[in-house]
Structure formats: structure tokens, C-alpha cells
């Protein structure tokens, strides 16, 4: 019997900026319904990896497959199944929340009659339905992040990528985002890649990919990664142990 296709499969991905190697033979898999935390310090290569997965630029070496299809062969199909929350805010501040979401729906070819109820549903899910008519400029940082999450889910993706989504947010907003995304994994079978340098964002049930200086040091469920680090007791210990040994 065939193994079901991974939502995202990265294989031997290497990328250089001139002489500098930003990623070096990166490889891991994410299954549908799996919440995977990409752990790495600043400069580890997380944003470069996201840019390659989202085709902001091509990989020089190695492969990326989305639901079994190599990205290079079918980029449109892969991007249609992906929702992305970038590290940098990407909302248009002069437009309203509703207009921003309508723009995103159009970028995915959604008809207005299909987009309107989807916008309502996703905004309601992040408790921002009553702010639909407000300009984004009037929203707080946490609210803007919630709008970005609603936007990423508008076209019902099967794979959600979030690059440092909680950067600069207070504890309450962080908790809201984290719980919301974890619930989506459980209830909708969404595969999630959550990049962060905050170790506590990976709960006990998460899968973890430890990225350091462009290389994957460990990958697997949290207990397995902790075990790989020898005498570590927590993920934090394991992360410090692994990255220290690799320096």
C-alpha cells in the first residue's frame, strides 16, 4: 500500500546567496493535520526556506513537493493549496479589512459570491467581524496579525505556512493565534509549518524541525528530538545542546 503524500516534503534543499550558503541540504516532511514548528535562531535560514517554498525565488538545488507534486512541475497547483502568513506585515494599511480580504480572494480567482461568506466566516473565527469596514491602519498589531491569518485561510488551503507570526505581539495575542492554528490542525486536518525562535510555542504534541545555520540538526516529535539531544530533559535544553554542539 502506498504511503499518503506528505503535505510538504523538502528534500536536500540547498540555497546560496553568492558565496554564502543560506540553506545546506535541508530535508523534512509534514503530514496533513500535523503542527510542525520550525525552530531556529535569527539568521538560521527560516525566512529563506519560506521564500523558497512560496516561490519568491527558485531553489538552486534540492526539491520541494506539495501533496506529492514537485513544486517545479506544478507551482500554480501548489500555491493554490497554500496559505501564507509572512514575517513582515503585508496588509494594505489604506484599505479596509474587507477590501484587503477581497483583494486576496481575487488573487486566488475566487468569485465575489464565494468570497463574501468566506470573508465573514474567517473574520468571525478571529473575532474581527465587526471591524470589517475599518481601515487596517486603525487596528492594533495583534488584530492585524489575526486579519493576516484570516486572509491566509480564505481560499481554504491545506497547508499553512507562518513565518514568526507572533513577533512583536503581546501574550494574549500570541496565545490566541497559537490556539487558533492548533485547533485548525485538529479540526480541519490542516498541515502547518510554524517558524519561530520562541521554543515555548512548540507544545508537547508538536513536531519539531531544528534549523541552525542553514542545516537541519534534528526533526521529529518533541520527545524524539529531546531524546536525540542526549541528556536533555526539555526541548529548550535539547535546542541549546544541539545548536551548541553544531557551532
Amino acid at each position: 500500500m502506498h504511503e499518503p503524500a506528505a503535505a510538504l516534503e523538502i528534500d536536500g534543499l540547498t540555497h546560496r546567496f553568492g558565496a554564502r550558503k543560506a540553506l545546506d541540504g535541508v530535508g523534512f516532511r509534514i503530514q496533513p493535520g500535523e503542527f510542525t514548528v520550525l525552530l531556529g535562531q535569527n539568521g538560521a535560514g527560516k525566512t529563506t526556506l519560506f521564500a523558497l517554498i512560496t516561490r519568491l525565488y527558485h531553489a538552486h538545488q534540492g526539491g520541494i513537493a506539495v501533496f506529492g507534486q514537485p513544486f517545479r512541475d506544478a507551482p500554480s497547483a501548489a500555491l493554490a493549496r497554500m496559505g501564507v502568513v509572512f514575517q513582515q506585515p503585508t496588509l494594505d494599511l489604506d484599505l479596509t479589512v474587507q477590501q484587503n480580504l477581497q483583494y486576496h480572494a481575487a488573487l486566488h480567482g475566487m468569485a465575489g459570491c464565494a468570497a463574501t461568506p468566506r470573508i465573514r466566516d474567517e473574520l468571525a473565527r478571529v473575532n474581527l467581524l465587526e471591524r470589517a469596514g475599518d481601515r487596517v491602519r486603525l487596528l492594533s498589531g495583534g488584530q492585524r496579525r489575526r486579519v493576516e491569518l484570516a486572509r491566509a485561510l480564505l481560499h481554504e488551503p491545506s497547508l499553512l505556512l507562518l513565518d514568526e507570526p507572533t513577533a512583536g505581539l503581546d501574550m494574549e495575542s500570541r496565545g490566541f493565534l497559537l490556539n487558533h492554528v492548533r485547533r485548525l490542525c485538529r479540526e480541519r486536518g490542516l498541515a502547518v509549518l510554524w517558524a519561530t525562535h520562541l521554543i515555548d510555542e512548540a507544545g508537547e504534541d508538536a513536531h519539531v524541525v531544528v534549523l541552525h545555520k542553514g542545516r537541519v540538526l534534528a526533526t521529529g516529535p518533541v520527545p524524539a528530538v529531546v531524546a536525540q539531544a542526549g541528556d536533555a530533559k526539555t526541548l529548550k535544553d535539547a535546542f541549546e545542546h544541539l545548536t551548541h554542539a553544531a557551532n
Partner: protein, 276 residues
């Protein structure tokens, strides 16, 4: 569980995507009042002050498409319309650089539609704004006795679209080369002003030829001259085929360079990312 269905991209989806990009550009134009007002005031200042001051300095002989002596205001009106399109093309370029710096360019680039189509839509969105601005200018210019025949108002539309596409595509090329917003002042000095002044927008080229043959050649080779002449002839219901060919050819070249500039493989984008 969420279905992991493949989403084909039918022609209607392409149309929706393009309409969404044009709608967003229109909304941004209306919301950014400074841009809106300055786009209208700039050519009117040229018309009301510059043209009034120079009408007695620059004599204009009878040259096609005009059939009689014309006031200087009538001569420079097509050039000012081309200027609206030039500034609009550069404004779109500026907004692309701004979008890239602010991150919203990424939203566009991760759309499942092909990149050339996204860039083309972005280009058409800018042209739509430029065409509306041009007609508003023509409406106001009527009070300065710039009154082309009625057929000219219709015939100028394809000329506006063609020249808008060329200048917008040039803007896209610029945006793929400009790394930072701060560098945009250089565009003003090295692209907009030379293109505008070394053209037939403000003075007929026979006058330029009298003073400098070299400058005349520069003006002849400047695609902005072709855009201006295309609009000038169209306003009087005529087609300047030579200018049309230059404008179409330049549009194709600029668009090809812009698509290459935004290509993730050969990418100027990729090189920039490495520098960031």
C-alpha cells in the same frame, strides 16, 4: 477534513484576478488623495503657467496633424497627457518598490497565477488609472480652448492605452532594478525629466534640429516622443503608424525585461533577497 482538491484556473478566475488587481489600484489611487490631486494639478500648472508664459516665445508653424496655426497650449496638450502617463507609470513603479519594502508585494507573488499574468494585470491597473486621469485632464483643458474634434476623444483611447502600457512597462522595469525607495529620486532626475524634455512634448522637433542635430536624434529615438505623437495624431482622428510601431515594440521589450526581473530563477528579486 479539508479537501486537498486541485484547483484548476479557468479563464473566469484569470478575469477575477485581473479585476481584483485593477480594483485595488483604483482604491489606492482614490484613497491617496495627495497622489490623486497632484496627478491632476501637475499638468494643469504646466498648461496654465508654462504654456501661457511661452506662447509668445515659441512660434509653432503648421505641422501635421494640425491644419492651421495653433496656440501653444494646443500644441503641448498631447505632451502633457503623455506626461500624466509617464508620471503614472513611475508612480506605479514607486508603489511596486514600496510594496516590496513593506511586504505586500509578497501577497501578489504567492498568488497561484503565472507571474507574467500578475505583472500584466498590475500594468493594466496602472494604465486604467492613467486613462481616467487623462480624460479628466482633457475635460478641464477644454476650458483652455483645447477642443479636439469629438472623434478625437474616442480615437485617443487606444493611443492612451498603448502609450500607458509602454510607460507602465518601463515603470515595472525600473521597479525591478530599484533596490530601495530612497533611490527613487534618481529616477526623477535620470528618467522622467530627460524623457520629458528630450521629446516633442514641449516643442516641435524641427526647432530642436535647428539648434542641435545630436539632440534631435536623441529626441527622435526617445520612445516618449513616439507616445506623445501617437496621442497627438489620435486626438485629431489620425494614426501615426510609425509612432504606434515604436510604442508597441518598446512595450514588448520593456515587458520582457520586467518579467525577467521578477522571475524567481534569474531573479533580480533573488539577488536583492540575498542582500537583505
Amino acid at each position: 477534513m479539508l479537501q486537498t482538491k486541485l484547483r484548476p484556473l479557468p479563464p473566469t478566475a484569470y478575469a477575477r484576478c485581473m479585476a481584483g488587481i485593477i480594483r485595488r489600484e483604483g482604491l489606492r489611487w482614490v484613497h491617496q488623495r495627495g497622489r490623486f490631486v497632484s496627478a491632476l494639478v501637475r499638468p494643469l500648472v504646466w498648461l496654465a503657467i508654462f504654456a501661457a508664459g511661452f506662447r509668445f516665445v515659441l512660434g509653432v508653424s503648421i505641422i501635421p496633424p494640425y491644419e492651421t496655426y495653433i496656440p501653444y497650449e494646443v500644441y503641448i496638450a498631447p505632451g502633457l497627457i503623455a506626461m500624466i502617463e509617464l508620471f503614472n507609470g513611475m508612480q506605479s513603479s514607486l508603489s511596486m518598490v514600496y510594496d516590496r519594502e513593506m511586504g505586500s508585494m509578497k501577497t501578489l507573488m504567492v498568488s497561484p497565477f503565472p507571474r507574467w499574468f500578475l505583472l500584466l494585470s498590475k500594468l493594466l491597473a496602472g494604465v486604467a488609472v492613467a486613462v481616467v486621469q487623462s480624460y479628466i485632464f482633457l475635460g478641464i483643458a477644454w476650458f483652455w480652448e483645447i477642443e479636439p474634434p469629438v472623434v478625437g476623444y474616442v480615437a485617443v483611447l487606444p493611443a492612451l492605452i498603448l502609450s500607458g502600457l509602454m510607460l507602465g512597462a518601463l515603470g515595472l522595469v525600473m521597479s525591478s532594478f530599484i533596490r530601495q525607495l530612497e533611490n527613487f529620486a534618481g529616477v526623477m532626475n535620470f528618467v522622467i525629466f530627460p524623457m520629458f524634455f528630450a521629446s516633442s512634448a514641449l516643442y516641435p522637433l524641427w526647432r530642436v534640429k535647428e539648434s542641435s542635430l545630436f539632440l534631435w536624434w536623441v529626441c527622435q529615438l526617445n520612445p516618449f516622443t513616439s507616445a506623445t505623437e501617437l496621442i497627438r495624431f489620435a486626438l485629431y482622428g489620425r494614426v501615426d503608424w510609425g509612432s504606434a510601431a515604436v510604442v508597441i515594440g518598446c512595450t514588448a521589450v520593456f515587458m520582457a525585461v520586467a518579467v525577467a526581473g521578477y522571475d524567481p530563477g534569474r531573479g533580480l528579486m533573488a539577488r536583492k533577497a540575498g542582500a537583505e
